[in-house]
């Protein structure tokens, strides 16, 4: 598909539902609703918050209650998530493993069903390390994926829903030269990702890391939870009830939670199973790379850390043990 035809695709996509796409806001790129392709940042490195927020809202009402009668709250709505990078699509696939696992989370599942995803090739920088986490390429988890090969896009179709949008005349069958161009563009992208981290066995190394090294690694940490807020695979949520003035009706709300905050492992009675930033960091790293790799190498936690703590450097020091 010629790049010049992208506005046509955008217009047909917009018929499916409101389009949420990367938009430049000051120094950052954020996902928000757009009405025209001109607003969209087509070439960007990483958005501030991951597109996860469309499926698992930063704060959302899940139930309404009146006394002990509970009713589900769910706003049904179709949308198109446009311009998502491979790392973030892989992040969603990792969230799927949690939220679609039985019993599935209905809110997440329905949004995953309603939201159409159009992937887009990325512009890596020196903080990206997705080739080390196996997430530099999206095999699934999208409807359409646009690969920039110069003057054209190679469009991969993954779903019947996506296929419906490729029936217009401006989509051409791929030829040999397109395959070559696709291969070249992918190679170039992979080669440009210079940052590497060896994650084999890192879980057990995290486990045997002495307290003295943990203290050194976390000395700068503010325990602010920014790393959790920007992570595409952070799944934790907190639940709270908000009462109306009649003190019998109200809503149950859930919102993103952060394992770096002191109260995350607090239990009733005041016991805290992860009282210091040392236990909390060990927990966060274990969660991300300890067993299954749940990190997608997007580099956000490093880029947006106010204390400039670098995840990859931390993992390298854990491997060396000093």
């Amino acid at each position: 598909m010629a790049k010049a035809d992208l506005p046509k695709l955008f217009r047909t996509l917009a018929k499916y539902g409101p389009v949420v796409a990367p938009v430049r806001v000051g120094e950052n790129v954020v996902f928000r609703e757009v009405t025209s392709l001109e607003e969209v940042e087509l070439e960007y490195t990483r958005s501030l918050t991951p597109p996860k927020k469309l499926f698992l809202g930063p704060q959302e009402e899940i139930l309404k209650f009146d006394g002990e009668k509970y009713e589900e709250v769910f706003e049904d709505g179709k949308a198109v998530l446009f311009g998502v990078h491979a790392c973030d699509i892989n992040g969603l696939l990792k969230l799927d493993e949690i939220y679609l696992d039985s019993p599935q989370d209905e809110y997440y599942a329905r949004r995953r069903e309603n939201v159409m995803i159009v992937g887009m090739s990325c512009v890596p920088d020196e903080r990206c390390f997705c080739t080390s986490t196996g997430s530099s390429y999206a095999y699934g988890g999208f409807d359409l994926f646009l690969h920039d090969i110069g003057r054209e896009y190679v469009v991969r179709v993954r779903t019947e829903r996506g296929y419906e949008f490729t029936k217009d005349g401006y989509f051409k069958r791929m030829e040999e030269k397109d395959f070559l161009a696709f291969k070249k563009a992918e190679e170039k992208k992979v080669r440009s990702i210079k940052r590497k981290v060896d994650l084999a066995g890192i879980g057990d190394l995290i486990d045997v890391t002495p307290k003295s090294l943990w203290e050194e690694l976390t000395a700068k940490c503010l325990a602010c939870g920014s790393c959790n807020l920007v992570c595409p695979t952070c799944q934790c949520y907190d639940v709270l009830d908000v009462l109306e003035l009649d003190i019998r009706s109200g809503s149950r709300i859930r919102r993103w939670d952060s394992c770096m905050l002191k109260r995350h492992a607090l239990v009733a009675g005041g016991g805290n199973f992860r009282p210091t930033v040392v236990e909390r960091t060990a927990n966060r790293l274990s969660c991300k790379v300890g067993g299954e790799i749940r990190c997608v190498g997007c580099g956000r936690c490093t880029v947006y850390c106010p204390a400039k703590i670098d995840l990859v450097e931390m993992l390298e020091r854990i491997r060396v043990g000093a």
């Binding site: 209905e106 949520y237 639940v239 859930r254 009675g269």
Partner: protein, 281 residues
Amino acid sequence: MNELIPKPVKILKVKDQTPIEKLFTLGVKLGQKPGQFIEMSIAGVGEAPVSICSSPTRGNVEVCVRRVGRVTNALHRLGAGARVGVRGPYGNGFPLEKMRGSEVVLVAGGIGMAPVRAVLQYLLDKKKEYGEIKLLYGIRDYSMMLFKDEILKLMNSKACTVYLSYEKEDEVCKRLRKEYPERVCQGVVTKLFEMVKLNPEAHAVVCGPPVMFWFVFKEMRNRGFPIERLYMTLERRMKCGIGKCKHCVVGVGSMMKYVCKDGPVFSGVEALTMRGMKYVR
């Protein structure tokens, strides 16, 4: 089906247990496995995980709740007839099928008696399928003993051998020690192992505060009890109960588990391999 919607359930009966614990009988049968828990809601206050302290063989669900946080304090203010929200049961429960045919040693400390009671009731009701039942129960003093009538009655029966340890002596404890000198002593629950002959073919169920668990674990291992036949429960603030919100995660490194989904019952081997347990205070 949306798993996060609580069902309204009536409280049928409330019975004081100790100055800080009450037993609630709920108007619902859940067919739970002993060791499982429910999420209890009080609209406007919140939701909290509570372990079920009754066996499915006894009908309605009972929970024994210590007044310790926001939800449990609100619950303590409710009486019979009030409604609460209930979700569940959740968690794996004790592997009672595996224990069939063998002797079962139940070790409980403090509020740990609540889930142990569910197992005890189950075993008593299916007496023919299991071997001898021993209950080792550690309390602070008589005022803090849960299910007083039931325990005292059992001390007098042949259905189960009850061993009791208390930390602070009072009139009732003193009388019990005189009455059953070979089964009652002053001290922590591990002291009872001096009075019990441990059968390595038995299965053990251990519930109590984390610190008690580790002492019991060490004591039993030192006495040659195979830890793979030992089961314990962990408690965390399970907010969702279904393995999503990740507040209850335990373990560090490559062995992370959800207490709500993989637990709350873990075998001694699982507990040992979850190295993160070293952080438990």
